[in-house]
Symmetry: C2
Subunit: 335 residues, 2 copies
C-alpha cells in the first residue's frame, strides 16, 4: 500500500516507531514475539521502507551507477547484463547513463553522482583530454571500477582484456596466411583500447618486418564518415588486402562498403575485427572476430566494485584484472 510508514505500523501495534524499525531489521534487542507481530502487520500492508529516508539516514543508497558510451553495442549490453546480475544478487539497484561518446556529457553525468546518489561507479570512459570528474570521484570517496575503456592516469581497479595480445595474434595470422597490406581501422584515438589494439597490430607487422606497410585509418564516431574513409582507402592506388577493425562497427561498415563497391570478402579483402556479435558466424562470409568475455567483464567489475563498497581489501589480482578474449577464425579471413 502506498501510505504505509513506520509511524502507521507503530500506532496500530501500540509500539514505538523505533521498535518497529528494529523489529523489521531483525535487531537482537527485540523479542521474538514482537518481531513476529510487527512482521505480520508489515506483510499485510506490503510495507517497504522509504528508500530516500533510509539512504539519507544511513548515507548509502544501495545503488550503483553504470556509465557507458552507448548501449546499442553487444559488448556493452552483455557487460550490463553481467553487472545487473551481480547487483541484483547483492540487493543493489543499477542506474544507467549513456554518454554517446560525448565527454562533456560524461562529465556532467558523473558530477551528478557525487553527492550520494550512488555508492559506486562502473565506467567505460569516452575519449577526453583529461578526466577531472573522475578525480573528483576519488576525492568524494566514490569508489570507481573501470572496465574495458580505462584511463591509466587514474588509480582505480580496472577490468580489461588481453586485447593487445589478440590484436597481435590476429594480425600475425593474417600475415602468415598471405596478407601483405593490413589496414588497421580505429576510432579516433587516444582511448586505451585503441592504443592497445594498435600496439598489437604494429607488433605483428614489426615482427614480420613490415612495419613500413602499416596503414592506420582513424574513423570518427560519426556514422557516415567512417564509410567515406573506408571507400577512399579501398579505392586508392594501393588497396589493402585486409582490414583489422578495432571495434565492431568498423567491421560491419567494411562489409557494407565492400558490398557497395562489389569487392569480395575474402578474395579481394580479408576482414577481421573485435566484435561481440553473436551472429558473426551467420555473415556472408562468416566474420572472423576477436570476442571479449563481455558478460564476465561485467560480473567481475561489479564484484570488485562491491568489495570496494563494502570496504574489503582487494585481492592481489583485482587492481588490474585481465580476462582472456578469444579469436574466432572464420571465412572472412580465408586466403
Amino acid at each position: 500500500m502506498a501510505g504505509t510508514d513506520l509511524k502507521k505500523l507503530a500506532r496500530e501495534l501500540n509500539l514505538a516507531v523505533s521498535t518497529v524499525s528494529r523489529a523489521l531489521r531483525d535487531s537482537h534487542e527485540i523479542s521474538a514475539a514482537t518481531k513476529a507481530r510487527v512482521k505480520a502487520l508489515a506483510d499485510k500492508y506490503g510495507f517497504r521502507p522509504n528508500p530516500h529516508a533510509s539512504s539519507l539516514r544511513q548515507a548509502k543508497s544501495r545503488t550503483i551507477a553504470v556509465v557507458v558510451p552507448e548501449i546499442r553495442n553487444n559488448f556493452f549490453s552483455q557487460a550490463i547484463n553481467g553487472i545487473e546480475l551481480v547487483a541484483q544478487e547483492k540487493g543493489y539497484h543499477v542506474l544507467i547513463y549513456l554518454t554517446h561518446e560525448n565527454s562533456k556529457q560524461e562529465r556532467e553525468v558523473v558530477q551528478l553522482l557525487q553527492n550520494g546518489r550512488a555508492d559506486g561507479l562502473l565506467i567505460s570512459v569516452t575519449e577526453a583530454e583529461s578526466y577531472p570528474h573522475l578525480e573528483a570521484c576519488r576525492e568524494a570517496e566514490l569508489p570507481i571500477v573501470f572496465f574495458d575503456r580505462v584511463v591509466d592516469e587514474i588509480d582505480a581497479p580496472r577490468v580489461i582484456t588481453d586485447e593487445k595480445l589478440l590484436a597481435y595474434q590476429t594480425c600475425r595470422r593474417l600475415l602468415e596466411s598471405g596478407c601483405e597490406r593490413i589496414a588497421f581501422l580505429t576510432m579516433a584515438g587516444n582511448l586505451s583500447i585503441s592504443r592497445h589494439r594498435q600496439d598489437g597490430y604494429l607488433q605483428a607487422l614489426k615482427e614480420k618486418g613490415k612495419e613500413h606497410l602499416s596503414i592506420i585509418v582513424e574513423c570518427s564516431a560519426a556514422d557516415d564518415h567512417s564509410r567515406e574513409q573506408l571507400k577512399k582507402i579501398l579505392s586508392g592506388p594501393q588497396r589493402p588486402d585486409a582490414v583489422f577493425a578495432a571495434v565492431e562497427k568498423l567491421a560491419v561498415d567494411t562489409y557494407e562498403v565492400c558490398a557497395e563497391m562489389e569487392l569480395n570478402i575474402p578474395e579481394d579483402l580479408c576482414v577481421a575485427g573485435f566484435s561481440n556479435l553473436t551472429v558473426a558466424s551467420l555473415f556472408n562470409p562468416p566474420l572472423t572476430t576477436v570476442v571479449q568475455p563481455a558478460y564476465e567483464i561485467g560480473k567481475e567489475a561489479a564484484g570488485i566494485l562491491f568489495r570496494l563498497i563494502e570496504g574489503k581489501k582487494l585481492l592481489p589480482g583485482e587492481q588490474k584484472r585481465v580476462l582472456p578474449s578469444h579469436l574466432e577464425w572464420r571465412r572472412s579471413t580465408a586466403r
Copy 2:
C-alpha cells in the same frame, strides 16, 4: 567536494540555510545580489544537493525505472537508448532491471519501486498468469507505461507496433511467392506480442484458404530447447518450406539449425522474422526481417510517462500508441 551541504554554505555566507536553498533554486523572494553570492560559493565548492534529502522532502525521486526481460537483444537495447535520451533531457535518472523472462523476479523488482524509489515505470512484461504487482503500482499511484509487451487487463498507456499487420503482410507475401507450409515459431505464448503476431500469421493463411496447413511451434526460452524443436520439425515427414519467427532469437536459431542440417536458405527453407538486428542484411543469405522502430518506441513511451508524471492530460492518441514497423524483404525469402 564531498562534505558540502547547505549548512556549510550558509555559515560561510552569513545566511540562513533556507535562504541558500532558495537562492540556488532561483526563488523570486531572494535578491539578485545574494543569489549571485550564493551561487558563486556553491560553484566554487561544486555543491550538489543531496538527492536523498531532496527526494524525501519533495516526495519525488526524479528517477524512472525500466523493467525489461533482457538486454542482450537489439530491440530492448535500442528502446533503452531512446528512453535514456528523453530521461536525460528531462534531468531524470534511469534505473534498469532485468527479469530474464522470470515472472517471479519481475514481481519482486516491481515491488521495490513502490515506495518512491521511482516516479514512473516503463515496462515490457514477461509472461505470467496474472500481474498483481502491476495492479499494486496503480494503487500506489506509480505511473506505468507499457511498451512492446503489454498486458491488456491493466489500464495504462501502451506503445506498441502494428505487429499483427506486418505478420500478416509478411506471411501473405510468403504465400504469394509460392510457400505452402509456413511454420510459425513463437515463444511460450500468452504474451501479447506472440498472440498478435500469430493472429497475423493465421489471418494470412485463412485468407488463402490454407488455415489447415498452419504449423505453430512453441519454443521455450531455454537456449537449446528451441533448436531441438526446430530440428525435429525440419527433419519431420512434412517439412515446412518456410518459417516465420516471432522473435529474433528464433530466426537466428533457424539459420544455425539449417547450417547444421545442411539445408539451404531459401531454396530448402524460406526464413523471415521479427528482428532489430542491424546486420541482418549481411547474413548469408540476407535475412528478411520485420523491424520495429525500437528507438522511437522508447522515446515515445518515455515521453508519455513524463506527461503522466507531470500530471498532464494525455493527448488523444497516447493511451494506445501504435507505431509502424516495416518489412525488409531480402534473399532469405526469395523463391
